[in-house]
C-alpha cells in the first residue's frame, strides 16, 4: 500500500486573548490509500482541528505553528493558496457535521454537487449531473434520477447527509475527511449514512479520516483508530486490536462508557403512581396533532424513559406535562387530583413537585446569576428559608451534586459543561420534587461526563426516592438507567413496558428497528445487520 498522507509533528495554536496557546501538540499521522482512519476523542481533543489541518486549513483564530503535511508527495504546510485551492475538493474533500447548515438552501442539490467539478474544469454540467445520478444510486438514495433536482429542505436529514457524501465524491478525491457526519442524526438514519460511507470508501479505494466521539460508530468503518486527548495522541492501533485490548486507561474508560449498571432492586419499591397522563392530545396552533392519545403513568422512585427519534413528540409531551402547552384533550393527574392544564393556573405546591432539567446546560442557567442565587431561589421561593438556612442548604446541595463548596460564588460561564448540568440538577433538587423531567440531559455532554451525570442521577434516586421522566433518543442511556420504557413514534406511544420487557424480544416492529440500529462495539456489527435486514426483506 502506498502512503497518501503523512503528517509529522503537527503543532496547531489557537489565539486566546493575545496569546497563542497550543491546541494540538505534535501529533504524527500517516494514512495509506484506501485506508480509513478513525480519530476519536472528547470535545477539545483536537480531532476536527487535525482533520482540517490535513487539508492545510485551520479555522479562524488558529494557525499551524509547525508541521510537515505531506499529501501524495506535496507539502501542504506553507503551500500557496492557489495550490491548496487546486487540491481541496479535487484531491481532498470534507464532509461536515451538519449537512443542513452546510448546504446552500437557495440552490438545488445537483447544482451544488456539480459546483466543484465544473469550477475546476474537470467536466461540464451534464457530465456532472450524470455522475451525480450514479453516485446517488450507489448511496441508495431514493429516486436517484430526480432527487438531485430538489432543494436541501425537500429531503430528509439522512438523505441530505448522503448528498453531502456524494458531493465530496464528485471529483473522485483521494482523501475524504468526515467530521462527525452522523452525530446530528437519529440512529435509524445513521445506519443509512454509515452504509453509504463504507460503500463509497470501498468502491473507490478512497482514503478517509473519520472523526467522531463515538467509538461504536468508528468501529464499523475504521481500519485503524487514533485516540486523542487534549491535543495529544493517547493510543493508536488497528481497529480490532484496539477494541479487543485497549492499552491505555483512557481508552478503556471510553470503551466502558456504555456499561453502567442499574444496581437497584425494583421489588422493594411500592407501586405508588404519582403522575398520570390520561388520553392527552396536543398541538401547536391546532393544525397538526403533535402528540395524540397519550396514556402514561409514572411511579414513585422509578425512572421511566421516553424514547423516540427527533420529531416523535417526546419534548412536546414534556411541555404538556409541565403546563407550558395546555393539551387540546385529556387530563394530567398528580397523585389522583387533576392539574390545571395551563401553567399559570397551577398552584405553587404542584409546581414544586415537578422539576425539569434541560438538554443545554449553557442556556438553562442564567449567566448573570451566581450559583448561590440559582440554587437559592427555589429554596426561598418555595420554602421561604431565611438567609442562614438557605446558605446551609445550598452547601448541602452542592455536596450532593459533588461540587466543592467554593463554587457557590461562581457564575455559570466559569463552570464546565458537566458542572453546569450538576448545578441544574441541584436547582431541581432544591425544590424537593417528586418528579424530575430530564429532557435529553446528557446529549450535549461528552461521553465520560455524561456517564458521571447518569451515575449521579442514579445515586440521587436511590437516596431521595425521586422519579425521573427521562426523555432521550440515546438507547444506550436508556438501557443504563431506565426501569420502564415508553417508545414513541410520530406522536403516539407504540410500545410501553418495563425495561426488561421492552429490551427482550419479541419487540414491536419499530422498537426492533430502533434497538437494532444502535451501533455496537463490534467491527462486524454493521455488516451483520445489513445482511440480516436484507434477508428479512
Amino acid at each position: 500500500m502506498s502512503e497518501i498522507l503523512n503528517i509529522k509533528k503537527l503543532v496547531i495554536e489557537g489565539l486566546t486573548g493575545e496569546e497563542w496557546i497550543p491546541i494540538v501538540k505534535g501529533v504524527d499521522l500517516t494514512l495509506n490509500r484506501g485506508e480509513v482512519l478513525g480519530l476519536i476523542g472528547e470535545s477539545g481533543a483536537g480531532k476536527s482541528t487535525i482533520g482540517l489541518a490535513s487539508m492545510g486549513y485551520t479555522r479562524q483564530g488558529c494557525r499551524i505553528a509547525s508541521a510537515s503535511i505531506n499529501f501524495d508527495g506535496m507539502e501542504l504546510f506553507g503551500a500557496s493558496e492557489s495550490m491548496l485551492r487546486k487540491i481541496r475538493s479535487t484531491r481532498i474533500a470534507y464532509v461536515a457535521q451538519s449537512a443542513a447548515a452546510s448546504f446552500n438552501p437557495a440552490h438545488r442539490l445537483i447544482k451544488q454537487y456539480a459546483e466543484a467539478p465544473v469550477q475546476h474544469g474537470l467536466m461540464n454540467f451534464s457530465q456532472a449531473a450524470k455522475n451525480a445520478t450514479e453516485i446517488y444510486e450507489r448511496l441508495l438514495m431514493p429516486d436517484p434520477e430526480k432527487i438531485g433536482y430538489r432543494y436541501p429542505h425537500q429531503v430528509s436529514g439522512g438523505q441530505l447527509q448522503r448528498a453531502m457524501v456524494a458531493m465530496a465524491m464528485s471529483c473522485q478525491p483521494d482523501l475524504i475527511i468526515f467530521d462527525e457526519p452522523t452525530t446530528a442524526l437519529d440512529v435509524t438514519t445513521q445506519i443509512e449514512v454509515l452504509t453509504a460511507i463504507k460503500e463509497v470508501a470501498r468502491q473507490h479505494n478512497t482514503a478517509a479520516i473519520y472523526i467522531t466521539h463515538d467509538l461504536a460508530v468508528v468501529a464499523q468503518l475504521a481500519d485503524r483508530i487514533m485516540v486523542l486527548r487534549n491535543g495529544d495522541l493517547v493510543e493508536e492501533n488497528d481497529c480490532r486490536k484496539m477494541l479487543a485490548e485497549p492499552k491505555e486507561e483512557y481508552t478503556q474508560e471510553l470503551l466502558a462508557v456504555r456499561n453502567i449498571s442499574k444496581g437497584k432492586d425494583l421489588s422493594t419499591l411500592k407501586d405508588d403512581v404519582i403522575l398520570e397522563v390520561k388520553n392527552v392530545t396536543a398541538s401547536y396552533g391546532g393544525v397538526v396533532n403533535v402528540v395524540e392519545d397519550i396514556d402514561l403513568s409514572i411511579k414513585k422512585g422509578r425512572t421511566i424513559a421516553l424514547v423516540g427519534e427527533s420529531g416523535s413528540g417526546k419534548s412536546t409531551l414534556a411541555r404538556v406535562i409541565t403546563g407550558l402547552l395546555p393539551p387540546i384533550k385529556g387530563t394530567i393527574e398528580y397523585e389522583g387530583t387533576s392539574l390545571a392544564p395551563a401553567l399559570k393556573n397551577r398552584d405553587k405546591e404542584s409546581l414544586r413537585k415537578m422539576q425539569m432539567i434541560y438538554q443545554m446546560p449553557d442556556t438553562a442557567l442564567n449567566p448573570r446569576q451566581k450559583v448561590r442565587k440559582i440554587i437559592g431561589r427555589p429554596l426561598s421561593f418555595y420554602f421561604g428559608l431565611n438567609h442562614k438556612a438557605q446558605e446551609d442548604k445550598i452547601l448541602e446541595l452542592l455536596d450532593q451534586i459533588e461540587l466543592p463548596a467554593n463554587y457557590i460564588d461562581r457564575y455559570p460561564p466559569e463552570l464546565s459543561g458537566g458542572e453546569k448540568q450538576r448545578v441544574c440538577i441541584a436547582r431541581a433538587l432544591a425544590a424537593k420534587p417528586d418528579l424530575i423531567i430530564c429532557d435529553e440531559v446528557t446529549s450535549a455532554l461528552d461521553q465520560l461526563v455524561a456517564k458521571e451525570i447518569l451515575k449521579l442521577l442514579q445515586n440521587l434516586q436511590n437516596k431521595l426516592n425521586v422519579s425521573y421522566l427521562f426523555i432521550t433518543h440515546d438507547l444506550a442511556t436508556v438501557k443504563a438507567i431506565s426501569d420502564e420504557i415508553v417508545v414513541m413514534l410520530q406522536g403516539r406511544i407504540v410500545e410501553h413496558g418495563t425495561r426488561d420487557e421492552i429490551l427482550a424480544p419479541p419487540h414491536h416492529e419499530y422498537t426492533e428497528l430502533l434497538l437494532s440500529s444502535v451501533p455496537e462495539m463490534d467491527p462486524d456489527w454493521l455488516e451483520n445487520l445489513l445482511v440480516k435486514r436484507a434477508a428479512n426483506g
Binding site: T322, L343, R346, M360, T363, N366, Y382
Partner: protein
C-alpha cells in the same frame, strides 16, 4: 477593585471621553462656586473679546460667557440626563412587558409605538410643545416619551431573545411572577446593549434639546443652555466674532466624549476583550 482594574486597562480614547464627561459633570455640580458672575448678571459690554475679567468674552447682552457656559452645562446636562433616565425607565419596562407577556399587550404597545414613530420626532415635539407650553416639566415629559419609543423597540427585541432561553422557562415553571422574571432574569442579561444605548440616547437627547432651544422651544431664557446660546449669539458670526462657536464646541465635545465611552463599553460587552 474590579472597576479600578477595568479602568486601568481602558484604551486612551475611553480615557479622553471620561475626562471630558467628568469635567462637564464637575462644572455642572460646582457652578455656584467656580462661576465668577451670576447666571443672568449683565457685567460688561456686548460681545467683548477674551480677557482676564471675561475668560471667554461676553454675549449679545453683555453677560459673561464663561459663567453662562458653566450654568449651561448644569441646565442642559441635568435635563438631558433626567429625560434619558425617564425614557429608559418607561421604554424598557414597556418593552420587557411586551416581550414577556406577548399576545395583545405586545400588539397594543407595539402599534402605539409605531404610530408615534411615524411622525418626524422634531415636528411632533414642536407641535406638542407649542400646545402644552415650554415649561421644563413639559419639555422633560414630551422628549422622554418621544424618545422612549426607540428604547422600547430595542429593549423588546433584546428581551425577546432572552425570553426564549431555558433559564427563563425554568423560572416560569418555578411559578415566578412577571416582575421577578423581568427584574432577575431578563434585565441583567439585557443590560449591556441597554447601557450602550443609554450613552447614545443621552447624546441624542442632548442634541435634541439644543436644537429645540435653537428654535426657541427648549430651555427658556434667561436660563443658560448651550443650544440657546448658539442661537442668541448666532448673529455674531457675521461680524467675524466667534462667540457662538464656544457653546457649539461644548455640545460637540460632550457628544464625542460620551460616544468614546460608549464605544469602549460596547467593545467590552461584546466579549471581544475576554
Amino acid at each position: 477593585m474590579a472597576l479600578l482594574k477595568l479602568l486601568k486597562k481602558s484604551p486612551i480614547s475611553a480615557r479622553i471621553g471620561m475626562v471630558i464627561v467628568l469635567l462637564n459633570i464637575l462644572a455642572a455640580i460646582f457652578v455656584p462656586v467656580i462661576a465668577p458672575y451670576g447666571e443672568t448678571e449683565i457685567v460688561s459690554d456686548v460681545w467683548m473679546e477674551m480677557s482676564e475679567d471675561h475668560l471667554l468674552g461676553t454675549d449679545h447682552i453683555g453677560r459673561d460667557l464663561y459663567t453662562r457656559m458653566l450654568y449651561g452645562a448644569r441646565n442642559t446636562i441635568s435635563i438631558a440626563f433626567l429625560i434619558t433616565i425617564l425614557s429608559f425607565t418607561v421604554g424598557s419596562i414597556c418593552g420587557f412587558f411586551a416581550a414577556t407577556l406577548g399576545g395583545w399587550v405586545d400588539l397594543a404597545l407595539s402599534r402605539v409605538v409605531d404610530i408615534m414613530m411615524a411622525f418626524p420626532t422634531l415636528i411632533f415635539a414642536l407641535m406638542v410643545l407649542s400646545i402644552v407650553g415650554t415649561s421644563p416639566f413639559a419639555l422633560v415629559i414630551v422628549i422622554a416619551l418621544l424618545d422612549s419609543t426607540r428604547v422600547y423597540r430595542l429593549s423588546r427585541a433584546v428581551a425577546m431573545d432572552i425570553e426564549v432561553m431555558e433559564y427563563v422557562e425554568a423560572a416560569r415553571l418555578r411559578g415566578e411572577k412577571i416582575w421577578w422574571l423581568m427584574r432577575h432574569e431578563i434585565l441583567p442579561n439585557s443590560l449591556p446593549p441597554l447601557v450602550a444605548e443609554f450613552g447614545l440616547r443621552f447624546c441624542f437627547v442632548f442634541l435634541f434639546i439644543a436644537s429645540l432651544s435653537f428654535l426657541g422651544l427648549g430651555i427658556q431664557p434667561p436660563a443658560a443652555d448651550w443650544g440657546g446660546m448658539v442661537r442668541e449669539n448666532a448673529g455674531a458670526i457675521t461680524f467675524g466674532i466667534f462667540i457662538p462657536l464656544w457653546p457649539a464646541a461644548a455640545i460637540a465635545t460632550l457628544t464625542v466624549g460620551v460616544n468614546l465611552i460608549v464605544d469602549w463599553f460596547l467593545h467590552l460587552s461584546s466579549g471581544l476583550e475576554d
